[in-house]
């Protein structure tokens, strides 16, 4: 009962102290709390968003929501055409892209090479055979053509080259181990070697995306031609990427495909399962880095609140003495300061939440921040954000309580008379 009484009196005091104190000082403290909240949530969200930006590219341009690939002991998916026919009957699928792939060597400027002992201008890559229309729908590949054009109908001996294979895009072309091609432009003739077969191909277009895009270091050609080069007469593809309609659960759909028996000749994975394992580790690393930076912000916020409340309590020491003198308990006075701290933390966090979910997250999701490494978004799951709000409120409660306690503990009469 005593605690309820102290809470009641503390609340009575706190409300009036907040309501009638300077609007500027209140605004400043709330602004500090807002910045602290954003530092706590946005920094981590931004760092994780860098990795999720990469993941999203992977999803949008490579795997879709569910991807079917060849098992480890096979180069292709057996009975691919039956599987594709079955998939075409499923209403859950929005878009689909079936791809062939093979290792390839590309060589440029081979006609100008005067001496056989000169190092050839060549690079190794993965070549992907696509249905140009399906792929355009699936990954919006034409929109990434920075130079030249996308495939034309009936294109033959034409390829699209990822920018990371070309020296003027690929880190300046001086990274050890990477041998990007020199002097390659739309219209340049390259010598391509696939499966021991050499063929001259023309560069139709250059795909310019961020370095971590799955399109960045690949070569695309129409599927019919690659199928011919690799002798895939059975039409068995290497990968089938599926984008599901909005609201369809990827895991449930994967399970549906497994139940249908597709997993007997192929591996069926959701996007999360198919993502390279290193990406998850980078995500975790960035998350920890974000947490470390946020922790510093939290300490700074706690110190700020401590200083604000301490100065406030110190300048009001006389009144705190009077309160004690007329019989107001020390606990009630301390609670009044704790309520003030909570108020600042809640209002700061509340404004922060509104800015975060009302503006920052949706805006950056629509307009990702383009960084060399990825198109970065802000990742801020509500549950994690609320944990950070709780951390902030806890820190401010402690930071508000300690200075109030220090002043309340001083001798009542000394406080009233302003004696040290």
């Amino acid at each position: 009962m005593k605690i309820l009484l102290n809470l009641r009196v503390g609340w009575y005091l706190a409300v009036r102290q907040i309501r009638r104190s300077s609007k500027w000082s209140n605004g400043l403290i709330i602004f500090v709390m807002l910045l602290t909240f954003l530092n706590l949530v946005v920094v981590t969200g931004f760092l994780v968003g860098i990795v999720d930006g990469i993941s999203n590219l992977f999803r949008a341009q490579e795997t879709g929501d569910v991807v079917i690939t060849a098992p480890k002991d096979k180069n292709y998916i057996e009975h691919s055409q039956q599987i594709i026919s079955f998939l075409e009957t499923l209403p859950q699928i929005e878009d689909m892209s079936a791809r062939y792939s093979a290792g390839a060597q590309l060589e440029a400027n081979y006609k100008e090479r005067a001496n056989a002992n000169d190092k050839p201008n060549q690079t190794g890559t993965s070549i992907v055979g696509i249905d140009p229309e399906d792929e355009a729908r699936f990954s919006d590949l034409p929109s990434f053509i920075g130079e030249g054009t996308y495939f034309q109908p009936n294109d033959y001996d034409a390829i699209l080259v990822g920018a990371q294979l070309i020296d003027r895009y690929a880190f300046g072309g001086d990274i050890p181990g990477l041998t990007p091609l020199k002097n390659v432009y739309p219209g340049t003739i390259l010598r391509m070697s696939v499966n021991g077969i050499e063929r001259e191909v023309v560069v139709r277009g250059i795909i310019t995306t961020t370095a971590n895009s799955p399109l960045a270091a690949r070569v695309f050609m129409p599927e019919a031609e690659l199928r011919q080069l690799i002798g895939r007469d059975d039409y068995n593809v290497n990968q089938i990427a599926l984008r599901l309609k909005s609201g369809v659960d990827a895991e449930q759909f994967r399970d549906l495909l497994i139940r249908s028996g597709i997993n007997q000749t192929a591996v069926v994975q959701t996007f999360e399962q198919a993502i390279p394992s290193g990406v998850a580790e980078i995500r975790s690393t960035f998350e920890q880095m974000g947490n470390a930076i946020s922790s510093v912000g939290l300490v700074v916020a706690a110190i700020t609140i401590f200083i604000v409340i301490f100065i406030n309590a110190l300048t009001r020491r006389k009144y705190i003495g009077i309160l004690k003198g007329i019989g107001i308990s020390g606990s009630a006075i301390e609670i009044a300061y704790v309520f003030q701290s909570i108020f600042y933390a809640f209002i700061g966090s509340g404004i922060g939440l509104a800015i975060l979910y009302g503006f920052l997250v949706p805006y950056v999701a629509k307009h990702p921040i383009v960084l060399p490494i990825s198109n970065t978004i802000i990742v801020a799951p509500l549950s994690e954000t609320l944990i950070r709000v709780a951390l902030l409120v806890t820190a401010t409660i402690i930071a508000g309580y300690i200075p109030a306690r220090m002043i309340v503990k001083k001798n009542t009469l000394d406080s009233i008379l302003g004696r040290n």
Binding site: R19, I322, I328, T412, I416
Partner: protein
């Protein structure tokens, strides 16, 4: 007449570094229920220090204070706080009002601590303020009130819950003559209704209003006068 407060050989010493200053040098006195006692003396004589000891705002170095038969030496800080809340009322020289609370809120606050429900506390506070003639300034902040009005709020706060003893430390020191007389007249009226008042003052004119005047000099009672 029953004794409500009694001090026995009260000594208070202040220590600054190695220097000890004895401000009260063995004060013994009794205050009767319903009495209006004035404590006078020149500046630095120890009159306010004596009031602070008797009102449990400070701890004497030695000696005893007995209030309603209870030796305060045996009380812990929480019990003293309860005594201050439930039994005493205070009027300070500089009014001691909380600047961010309105007149009625200043008076309501200690009533809430006394476990009154908000409507009841509010009603008691309003009545007390009306009693001191401030029914029209209930919602004014201290900064919007004159010195005399602020001291009236302070008195309303002190008497709202009818304390056993009203302690007043130089209540008119910061007021003009008209306001001072009005405040003192209020004390006389309260005393007539049975309120025990212990007031420190250095103004001779106002000492005459008290039933008994004790004069302090150099930490000792040097004279007692009954009006």
């Amino acid at each position: 007449m029953t004794t409500i407060l009694e001090t026995k050989n009260l000594i208070k010493t202040f220590k600054t570094g190695d220097v000890e200053t004895r401000v009260l040098k063995g004060i013994s006195l009794s205050v009767h229920r319903g009495e209006f006692l004035a404590i006078t003396g020149r500046s630095g004589a120890g009159k306010s220090t004596l009031l602070y000891q008797m009102s449990l705002l400070d701890e004497p170095t030695s000696g005893e204070i007995i209030i309603e038969g209870r030796n305060t030496h045996e009380m812990n800080e929480k019990e003293k706080m309860k005594f201050r809340l439930f039994k005493f009322g205070y009027v300070f020289q500089d009014y001691a009002l909380l600047p961010e609370l309105t007149a009625i809120e200043n008076v309501t606050l200690p009533l809430l601590m006394e476990k009154y429900a908000m409507p009841m506390a509010h009603a008691l506070a309003e009545r007390a303020l009306k009693d001191v003639g401030l029914g029209h300034r209930l919602h004014s902040l201290p900064s919007q009130l004159s010195g005399g009005e602020q001291q009236r709020v302070s008195i309303a706060r002190a008497i709202a819950e009818k304390p056993e003893i009203l302690f007043a430390d130089e209540p008119t020191a910061n007021l003009d003559r008209e306001s001072s007389q009005s405040i003192l007249q209020m004390f006389v009226e309260l005393n007539k209704k049975g309120q025990t008042i212990i007031m420190v003052t250095h103004e001779e004119e106002y000492q005459k209003l008290a039933e008994r005047v004790i004069q302090i000099d150099d930490g000792k009672i040097v004279a007692t006068e009954t009006n």
